[in-house]
């Protein structure tokens, strides 16, 4: 039986926690600046280099994804934000106060995950809907831009928010398992940056059978308009990614419930 009254109370508490520490504001601010700024810079660079690209690369040219490329770095700032909501409780000892106030520890994790996902989703949607028109305006100077009404484009822009919202929950799950800021950030960077790069070095057959199911590859498919044959479909990929998120959160939930704090 879910105790909705308790869940509501814990959600309110977690919201108070988020808005009363500086790190929340810093992480959100950095994710906006980096997301919009790098999106514009990468759009300008890609537009300038388009004419020198091979016909194959030009066919895979994805103007929507390029304008949203800054989100690739925003996700790290929002991932750090998600991690801090848990790891800072361990480093300061606040976790003992939290768990003493809410012995039903699962509710703490659920409320944290919901709040963190909401803040990350709203922030990255704001970044996406700001970076997209700026990027398209830059690309349009080379007649490469697309519009939100073009096929799949609106889904890709919205997808940036959906992907990062879910990724924050995974970051929070990692922090719940690892309980240290630096360790959890390392794990997140491995998931988001290192594993995708390493798997690109694999033979094509392995990429097709294996790499596209990995968290970052599967999850980011929803942000692409032009689909590579090595990636899953947008919604299939997102569903696979949600499976990964559930796995990590589930492991965190089990550990939070059974470990001493």
């Amino acid at each position: 039986m879910i105790d909705f009254g308790l869940f509501r109370n814990v959600m309110l508490s977690e919201w108070t926690k988020l808005r009363s520490v500086r790190s929340t504001y810093w992480c959100v601010l950095v994710s906006i600046i980096v997301g919009v700024g790098l999106g514009a810079a990468i759009s300008a660079g890609s537009a300038a280099g388009y004419s020198q690209q091979s016909a194959h690369d030009q066919a895979l040219f994805d103007p929507a994804a390029i304008s949203l490329a800054g989100l690739f770095f925003s996700q790290l700032a929002l991932g750090v934000f998600a991690i801090m909501t848990v790891s800072a409780e361990y480093s300061t000892g606040m976790i003992r106060t939290t768990v003493a106030a809410v012995p039903q520890r699962g509710y703490v994790l659920a409320a944290k995950a919901t709040m963190v996902a909401l803040v990350s989703f709203v922030t990255s949607i704001a970044v996406a809907f700001t970076a997209f028109p700026i990027g398209q305006a830059i690309l349009n100077r080379h007649h490469l831009g697309v519009s939100l009404s073009d096929p799949h484009v609106a889904r890709a822009v919205l997808g940036g928010g959906l992907y990062i919202g879910a990724l924050s929950m995974m970051a929070l799950g990692l922090a719940t398992i690892i309980r240290h800021t630096a360790g959890a950030i390392t794990a997140l960077v491995a998931v988001v940056f290192i594993i995708p790069i390493v798997t690109q070095l694999l033979p094509d057959s392995l990429q097709h059978d294996f790499a596209r199911f990995l968290p970052a590859n599967a999850g980011s498919a929803i942000t692409n308009v032009v689909q590579s044959s090595d990636s899953l479909g947008p919604w299939t990929g997102y569903a696979v990614f949600l499976g990964w998120v559930a796995l990590v959160i589930g492991a965190g939930w089990y550990m939070l419930r059974t470990r001493d704090v």
Partner: protein
């Protein structure tokens, strides 16, 4: 009421709490004493469900802590000093704790007033002194107006005025029928505050009695006598069956005889007395005697003497 039954907690090889059973009654202040590493903090954590017991159970008002839906209205706890996010203001810290149990924001303002932190409520708690941090912890414990108060070293870092305030607060809560369980390594403070004492060492129960009983039973009240004929007096007193020891300053320390008896012996034998007095035992001495065998880290110069606490019981457990 807090009831622990055969509570045991093992961390790997270490047995932190060993088959501990005790009851903390409402209406009195119960002190929780033990040398460093005796398991006081671990026991407190087991009561609050922060750590899970290896075996045994502990209940608060008949129910394990984690089964209380609004635990803060049942139990107010002051944990070890560092249980607060230093980047958050005192007000927001208390607010986020209050919200979990549906306690209104107005109560936050009340407890801030009660502990005297109203003026610094908007300041980041990381900048607080140790004493202010303790006050914030006590404010947090009082949020739910709980029936049971559980305080781990509450006077740690407080100035004399703060210590007096905590002492009166604890006595007040006990007098209105609440259960007050407070750990400390300050014996003199416990002697003034606690009506009952639970003493543990190496995780085991050593004593569970009233403060007065504990002092009377375990620390020996002795007679101090000084005389130019100390050797004669020692022989004469020892002949009656009392135990006589020589203090560093040459005075005799006599166990098992009253001042009247010693005075009469001296008069019979024509021995001159320069001093004859009762040395009242202190809780500190009683505690040292009780826990002598269970101190983990003795001072390097030898076993702690009754009047020399030594470094074995420094800051906190």
């Amino acid at each position: 009421m807090i009831e622990a039954q055969q509570l045991t907690k093992r961390y790997g090889e270490t047995l932190a709490v060993d088959n501990l059973s005790f009851t903390v009654q409402p209406g009195v202040v119960t002190g929780f004493l033990g040398p460093n590493g005796a398991g006081k903090s671990t026991t407190m954590r087991l009561i609050l469900g922060l750590d899970s017991a290896t075996s045994g159970v502990v209940t608060i008002n008949g129910t394990p802590y984690s089964e209380h839906r609004h635990p803060l209205t049942e139990v107010g706890a002051l944990l070890e000093a560092r249980s607060v996010h230093g980047g958050r203001s005192a007000y927001h810290h208390l607010l986020c704790v209050a919200q979990t149990n549906g306690i209104p924001a107005k109560r936050v303002t009340e407890v801030l007033e009660l502990v005297g932190l109203t003026d610094v409520a908007k300041r980041r708690s990381g900048a607080f002194s140790l004493g202010m941090g303790q006050r914030l912890g006590i404010a947090s414990a009082l949020l739910g107006d709980p029936k049971v108060l559980l305080l781990d070293e509450p006077v740690n870092g407080l100035d004399p005025e703060g210590i007096l305030w905590v002492r009166n607060l604890l006595k007040h809560f006990a007098s209105i029928g609440k259960t007050v369980f407070v750990s400390s390594h300050l014996m003199s403070e416990m002697a003034l505050t606690a009506d009952r004492l639970i003493v543990i060492g190496r995780g085991k129960l050593i004593a569970d009695a009233t403060t007065a009983e504990l002092i009377a039973e375990s620390a020996k009240t002795h007679v101090r006598a000084r005389s130019p004929q100390a050797d004669d007096l020692a022989r004469a007193v020892a002949a009656t069956g009392a135990t006589v020891e020589r203090d560093d300053d040459g005075a005799l320390s006599i166990l098992g005889a009253t001042t009247e008896q010693v005075g009469e012996i001296a008069a019979e034998q024509g021995i001159v007395l320069h001093e004859l007095a009762v040395q009242q035992a202190t809780l500190e001495a009683a505690f040292m005697e009780l826990t002598e065998d269970s101190v983990d880290y003795h001072a390097t110069t030898g076993a702690p003497q009754p009047n020399d606490p030594g470094p074995a019981w420094g800051a906190s457990a």
